[in-house]
C-alpha cells in the first residue's frame, strides 16, 4: 500500500520523529511505499540543519536518520508556511527575506500544504505522528 505520513512534533519535545522513523522503516521493509513525509506545525523543526545531538543520549542523530530515509527515495516535505515562520528556511527563502543563513537540512525541501493533500489523495493510508 501507499502511505502518506505527517510529523507534527518537534525534536526533544515529542517522540514523533522516533515513531515516524521506525514506522517508515517497517513500511519499506514490508514492501510498502511512502508518498511523502510531511512536516507540519512544530514538526518543521525536524528539518533544522544546525542540530547537535547530545553525545550521551540514546537517541541517534534524527536528522541523519531522516536523510537516510530521503536517500531511499522518500520525499521529506517541510510545510513552507509553518516552516518559514519558525525560521526553517532554504536558500531561496533566505534570499527572499534577506535573512543571514539558510537553516534547512539537506534532504528536506520546503513545500506547500497542497503537497500534503496531494500525498494523502494519492495514498491508501494516512498516519499522523503528533507532538
Amino acid at each position: 500500500m501507499k502511505y502518506a505520513l505527517a510529523v507534527h512534533g518537534a525534536p526533544y519535545a515529542s517522540e514523533a520523529a522516533a515513531h515516524a522513523l521506525f514506522f517508515a522503516d517497517a513500511l519499506l521493509a514490508g514492501g510498502h511505499s511512502i508518498e511523502r513525509v510531511f512536516f507540519f506545525h512544530d514538526g518543521v523543526y525536524q528539518g533544522l540543519g544546525a542540530q547537535v545531538p547530545p553525545q550521551d543520549s540514546f537517541n541517534v542523530d534524527t536528522v541523519k536518520r531522516w536523510q537516510h530515509l530521503a536517500a531511499q527515495g522518500v520525499e521529506l516535505g517541510i510545510c513552507i508556511a509553518s516552516g518559514i515562520k519558525r525560521g526553517v528556511v532554504n536558500e531561496a527563502e533566505q534570499t527572499r527575506y534577506e535573512l543571514q543563513h539558510p537553516t534547512l537540512a539537506p534532504g528536506f525541501e520546503l513545500v506547500g500544504l497542497g503537497q500534503l493533500i496531494a500525498a494523502i489523495n494519492n495514498a491508501d493510508r494516512y498516519v499522523e505522528f503528533p507532538a
Partner: protein
C-alpha cells in the same frame, strides 16, 4: 473499522467517547501508561495493543491476563493495513 493511535492518557480520554465497537487501538508513547484505563472504558483486550518498545521503556508489562497485546512495528503496520481511517489522539 477505524484504528485509533493513542499517544497519551489525555489522548485516551478524548478518544474514549468517540470510537465504535470493532475499532482497533494502539497505545504508544506515553499512551502506554493508560493501558488499564483503556480496558476500563470498555475497549476489548483483543482490540487493544501496546507498542512493545514504548511499554518496555516505561516499565509497563502486558503479561497479566486480560492485558493488551504487545506489538512491534511490523505488526503496527499490519494493523494500519486492516483499518481506515487511522486517527491520532494526543489530547
Amino acid at each position: 473499522m477505524s484504528l485509533h493511535l493513542v499517544f497519551s492518557p489525555a489522548g485516551l480520554e478524548a478518544c474514549s467517547s468517540r470510537w465504535q465497537s470493532g475499532d482497533k487501538f494502539v497505545l504508544l508513547g506515553n499512551g502506554v501508561y493508560a493501558h488499564k484505563q483503556a480496558l476500563d472504558v470498555g475497549i476489548q483486550p483483543t482490540d487493544l495493543h501496546l507498542l512493545g518498545p514504548d511499554a518496555e521503556a516505561r516499565g509497563i508489562s502486558s503479561e497479566a491476563t486480560g492485558s493488551p497485546v504487545s506489538i512491534d512495528y511490523p505488526a503496527f503496520v499490519e494493523l494500519t493495513l486492516q483499518c481506515s481511517p487511522i486517527v491520532s489522539w494526543n489530547e
